[in-house]
């Protein structure tokens, strides 16, 4: 049985992954539709990678139901993997082979004929802007280039779903933007993306829909905009104080001006729909922090509200 139109490409119900006593994934439900860009947002250890590995059919499901492309990973793992593209968290490129050889050999694992693979590799390298490096060894490439090569390689079999586990972790900001741009293009071409990330900006840029994960559970689901509307205010005022000048009774100073106060170790967040009015009001009451920043709410605020912790600690 394969996926038909309307049937989800990936379907999970009460999905559980345990390693001995440790519960990595604690009963999650989700469906991925064709053409979607779907994300798992959560801090390290939330169970994102374990979920991805089960979907990628390289980790057995402990309990619950998982169907990928309409098939059961326990029975049809090899067949399913033949139709997925995987960008793992840690690169698995061969350092001794050239950039092009890495794609061709990987394509051979799918049984694609060499004759077809050489033009395909060139096409993919052009897409990730590595054409000039095609005949170089992989080893001296920068982290961002290696990532792009891994993405190119994962597309060699024209996958129906592309699984990306922390696609830009460890990259510098510029390299991240190049990767995002490529992924965004894939999304526009209609490739179904499933990604995990602990960067809220990555989730905001790439995901049509996402779930927030914490301690192996899904704590919220929706589009980035939905989630912000539901769990945060439109704007946030960030207050920073000099050592010792932070007032104890924040409630007194902010009473009536904001919807919610979130004191963090290094700053205080005030949630309100009108940041300027709030910061103005605080000033009028005579509270003078070292700095005030008014910004829009992000998924980081959503996560903070849902779990009481930051995404990156």
């Amino acid at each position: 049985m394969t996926a038909h139109n309307g049937q989800p490409l990936i379907h999970a119900r009460d999905l559980v992954k345990r390693f001995g006593e440790f519960v990595a994934v604690d009963g999650i439900d989700f469906d991925l539709q064709r053409g979607e860009a779907f994300g798992f947002l959560g801090p390290n250890g939330a169970g994102k990678t374990s979920t991805m590995r089960m979907i990628g059919c390289v980790s057995p499901v402990t309990e619950g139901t998982l169907r990928v492309l309409g098939m059961d990973p326990a029975r049809d793992g090899s067949k399913i993997r033949g139709r997925l593209g995987v960008v793992p968290q840690q690169d698995t490129l061969d350092m001794e082979l050239t950039v092009r050889e890495n794609i061709v050999i990987y394509g051979r694992y799918f049984g694609l004929p060499r004759k077809q693979l050489y033009p395909r590799a060139d096409e993919l390298l052009e897409f990730v802007e590595l054409t000039e490096r095609a005949n170089d060894k992989v080893e001296p490439l920068s982290g961002g280039m290696k990532r792009r090569l891994t993405i190119a390689r994962s597309l060699v079999n024209d996958p129906e779903v592309l699984l990306l586990d922390e696609p830009t972790t460890g990259l510098d900001p510029q390299a991240r933007h190049v990767v995002w741009d490529r992924l965004y293009r894939l999304k526009r071409q209609g490739v179904t993306l499933l990604l995990t990330t602990h960067y809220m900006d990555e989730a905001e840029q790439l995901c049509d829909r996402l779930v927030v994960m914490d301690h192996g559970k899904i704590v919220a689901e929706g589009s980035p905009r939905d989630l912000i509307e539901r769990y945060a205010t439109r704007e946030v005022v960030e207050l920073r104080f000099d050592d010792g000048s932070r007032p104890e009774d924040l409630g007194y100073w902010t009473e009536g001006l904001v919807e919610r106060v979130e004191p963090l170790p290094d700053r205080v967040l005030l949630y309100t729909d009108d940041g300027d009015a709030a910061s103005h009001g605080i000033h009028e009451r005579g509270l003078v922090p070292e700095s005030i920043l008014v910004r829009r709410s992000t998924l980081e605020d959503v996560f903070l509200h849902l779990t009481g912790r930051s995404l990156i600690e």
Partner: protein, 257 residues
């Protein structure tokens, strides 16, 4: 899709990797037997033949050459199936790349073993040609020492790959080399008959796969085969089989979690 085609795909990767180092490899495959045979077979052999009383009146060169052939297979195997296997799991992670595709754990194991087989076949063939050139092959049956040498190698690569997929660090490899491979190299009948060992050590030597491999190779090149050679063959095959079963288990536990 047949299992064989899936096994051949990882082999293709290892062959592509090998293409980058084959030159140095072939040179050392030729140089190493020439040097060993000159030093031991010819050099040391002069002294040995003067006094020793090898069974059936064979020369020391004839005695030691097939032994070296089998022992070399063991040495190559102990390198090839240790670091590279752990690296494909832990450092270079090529196994993980393979398992993200239709390839299954068993294809990864058999594909890597198929590559070892190729390496061993190449080395064994070169070795055989060299010892034949030294005049140390007495019987046309000797040519069968080539596949037997490959089998000796696999009797090591299969269990060692199983171990390498189990161990967390490379520390044990040095210990295995020093305390298992090297003593086996010296005391499994390669350089002298194990009957000259003290009785307990001789009994111990019976259990080493290398002794069975050395004896079998020697019987073939000397043309002195007997029914007991089937036992040697069976013993080596058992090592391969048990090694593969263990590998199936350790690879799966490591890669499919």
């Amino acid at each position: 899709m047949s299992s064989l085609t899936l096994t051949l795909r990882p082999l293709e990767f290892f062959m592509t990797q090998y293409r980058r180092m084959w030159r140095g490899n072939v040179v050392s495959s030729v140089v190493s037997p020439v040097v060993y045979l000159l030093a031991l077979g010819v050099g040391l052999g002069v002294f040995v033949d003067r006094s020793a009383d090898l069974p059936n009146g064979v020369s020391y060169l004839e005695f030691v050459a097939p032994g070296l052939m089998a022992a070399t297979a063991m040495q190559i195997s102990s390198f090839e199936a240790s670091w590279p296997v752990l690296s494909a799991i832990k450092w270079d992670r090529q196994y993980h790349a393979m398992l993200a595709t239709p390839l299954r754990v068993r294809d990864v194991i058999l594909g890597h073993q198929a590559y070892f087989m190729f390496r061993l076949l190449l080395t064994a063939t070169v070795y055989f040609v060299v010892i034949a050139a030294f005049g140390a092959v007495e019987s046309p049956l000797g040519v069968l020492a080539i596949p037997v040498t490959v089998l000796v190698g696999l009797a090591f690569t299969a269990p060692l790959a199983a171990w390498a997929a189990h161990t967390q660090t490379e520390v044990s490899f040095v210990a295995i080399f020093r305390f298992v491979i090297l003593p086996m190299f010296l005391f499994s009948g390669t350089f002298f008959p194990i009957s000259s060992l003290p009785r307990p050590l001789e009994v111990l030597a019976w259990f080493t796969p290398l002794w069975h491999g050395v004896t079998l190779c020697r019987d073939l090149t000397l043309g002195q085969v007997g029914p007991e050679d089937l036992l040697h063959l069976a013993y080596l095959l058992a090592f391969v089989a048990v090694g593969l079963v263990l590998a199936r288990w350790t690879y799966k536990r490591r890669l499919f979690v």
